[in-house]
């Protein structure tokens, strides 16, 4: 079975009933090795949808299935063993060293009353090496940059050794260089068999290794398919309300999107 996540007809509304739904009747499925990128303007429910995929939020209608099992029947640790989540960064109150934050990812694998030991520490060290933050290991996590914190959160989720990785705007605090590095890294993860779902503000990111792109707009999936099919000038203009030029950029070897201001 290669299907990892199946979403059946889910709707979500914040607050009590009267508010307009964030999205309605969404259905799709995500398979092993997919790198799915959700695009869409601010406030279209990208984060909300990602949180539904991982059971952090409960859809009002419909169901999410993880490995064919209804997510509402799984415990938090059952979900966390297969699914890592990288939230939009929120800083820590306490100055844990970066290594300790990363080790926290082992929690779903630990019995209720135990603390991580040598083995957990070793896994965390390997992941930090892979993500490239070994040099930060002993630094207090309250004293690193936003980008370094983002990488720490990615490392923390990977320490869960998940088969599915959900990232909520993983590049929002990163500079150009680090954005590209993180996306390349995520692409590598997908190529090695990890299933990746992420939300992004930048349509450009869809051309960096995504196997599929979905555009959320006005509570619906406005378009879904391969990046070439979905990320087009027509779709982007309708999605973001500005004219966008999508063209192949020789030196980069991929398509890029440039918003054009219409005078």
């Amino acid at each position: 079975m290669t299907e990892r996540i199946r979403v059946e007809d889910i709707s979500f509304t914040y607050g009590s009933g009267t508010a307009a739904p964030v999205f309605e009747s969404l259905s799709f499925s995500i398979s092993k090795g997919d790198l799915v990128c959700f695009l869409g303007p601010n406030g279209t429910g990208k984060s909300t949808l990602l949180k539904c995929l991982n059971g952090l939020l409960k859809p009002e209608k419909g169901s999410v299935y993880l490995y064919g099992k209804k997510i509402s029947t799984l415990s938090r640790s059952e979900i966390a063993v297969t699914t890592g989540f990288v939230p939009q960064s929120q800083t820590s109150t306490f100055p844990f060293p970066v290594r300790d934050v990363v080790i926290m990812g082992r929690t779903p694998h630990l019995p209720l009353f135990s603390s991580p030991g040598k083995k957990e520490r070793q896994i965390a060290d390997e992941v930090m090496e892979m993500v490239g933050i070994t040099h930060l290991a002993d630094k207090p996590c309250t004293m690193i940059s936003g980008g370094e914190w983002q990488l720490t959160l990615i490392a923390r989720a990977l320490t869960q050794q998940p088969e599915i990785l959900i990232l909520d705007e993983p590049t929002s605090h990163l500079d150009m260089g680090n954005q590209l590095k993180v996306l390349k890294f995520v692409q590598g993860l997908a190529q090695s068999g990890l299933t990746v779902v992420m939300a992004s503000h930048f349509p450009d990111h869809a051309f960096l290794g995504s196997s599929r792109v979905a555009v959320l707009k006005d509570g619906n999936i406005f378009a879904m398919g391969s990046p070439d099919e979905v990320v087009t000038e027509a779709v982007l203009e309708k999605t973001y309300g500005v004219k966008v030029n999508v063209s192949y950029f020789e030196e980069a070897g991929r398509k890029v999107c440039v918003p054009v201001i219409d005078n």
């Binding site: 952090l56 640790s77 890592g84 939230p87 990812g105 009353f113």
Partner: protein, 336 residues
């Protein structure tokens, strides 16, 4: 490596607690030499021919030892509760009283003092109302469907001020010669009324709740990253949060019912703990426990020996705690 360092710190603190305890047993209106104290305690387990007066034995066994045990328990309990709450609520300015337990227990005690002369009734009433106020805060927080942790703190403040107002009302209507001073003194906190029998009931409760908090201390680390993050890392945040709240509340209510309201321990001691071993609750909880136990016994020893009349311990912990906290905040600026 940090592990041996953690062990060293715990060892030094344990020795300090023992030292403070012995000094506490020696000190008082009657000085008793340490050797006699050890012999008196040992005579309970092995047959020894007494070379001390029965008065001395009574002072140790019936007065100072129960009081010492109570000081250790209350200090340890309030500190570990404070440290756990600060982690759970992700706020280093939180004390175990945050959910209204002290205000509720204070009201319960005042009500008990008004209604009855029996210490047991007063203690039970204090304990019950402490639990009731936290339960009320918890239920109130469930009414709103937003960020549960924040709502819980707000609900605690609401319930707390309600009970404080009710306590003021009881003070207002109480007989000003007798009952009112009793309420006022009780609210200031003291270890003076503790008996060995109290400890028999309260001791196991403290032990059970402290053990539970120590067992889940790794998960407090994860919870301190935020509710959603903790869930994503596989923590059942509702259950773990409830265990922490119940344990810390029972400890605090039990502490208030034997010793009145002693502030500043649960707030300040975890900060000293963080200064010693950092924010990791795996180390912070045991260390806070030791520091809190030693600190409260030390302050209690001062409280009953600096003046002819005993100074209420709640006054001293605040007098020492507040300036100390101010200095701590300054030294510890970059992070908690």
């Amino acid at each position: 490596m940090t592990i041996p360092r953690q062990g060293r710190i715990r060892l030094v603190l344990s020795l300090l607690v023992i030292l403070v305890s012995i000094i506490s047993l020696m000190t008082g209106q009657m000085y008793i030499p340490p050797l006699t104290i050890i012999k008196i305690i040992a005579s309970n387990f092995i047959p020894l021919t007494p070379d001390w007066s029965p008065t001395v034995e009574s002072v140790i066994m019936n007065v100072r030892l129960p009081r010492l045990a109570a000081g250790l328990l209350v200090g340890a309990g309030l500190s570990i509760s404070g440290a756990s709450f600060q982690g759970l609520f992700r706020n280093p300015l939180v004390s175990p009283h945050i959910l209204g337990v002290a205000a509720g227990a204070g009201f319960g005690a005042a009500l008990g003092i008004l209604m009855s002369d029996s210490l047991v009734v007063i203690q039970i009433s204090a304990f019950l109302f402490g639990m009731i106020s936290v339960a009320a805060a918890y239920l109130l927080s469930r009414v709103y469907h937003t960020s549960p942790v924040l709502m819980l703190v707000l609900a605690g403040i609401i319930v707390g001020s309600l009970f404080s107002a009710l306590t003021s009302f009881l003070k207002y209507i109480a007989d000003p010669m007798n009952r009112m001073p009793a309420i006022v003194f009780w609210l200031m906190g003291s270890l003076n009324n503790v008996t060995g029998k109290d400890l028999l009931y309260v001791g196991p409760v403290f032990a059970a709740c402290i053990t539970a908090l120590l067992l889940i201390r790794w998960r407090i680390n994860v919870l301190s990253m935020g509710e959603e993050d903790a869930k994503a890392m596989g923590v059942n945040t509702e259950l773990t949060g409830a265990v922490i709240i119940v344990c810390a509340t029972v400890i605090t209510a039990a502490a208030v019912c034997i010793s009145g309201i002693i502030g500043w321990i649960g707030l300040v001691i975890p900060h000293i703990g963080r200064l010693l071993v950092g924010p990791d609750h795996r180390y912070l909880l045991p260390v806070s426990l030791l520091v809190g136990a030693g600190y409260l016994v030390a302050v209690d020893t001062i409280a009953r020996s600096i003046m002819v009349v005993e100074v209420p311990i709640g006054i001293l912990t605040a007098l020492i705690g507040a300036p100390f906290f101010a200095i701590l905040l300054r030294k510890n600026r970059p992070g908690w």
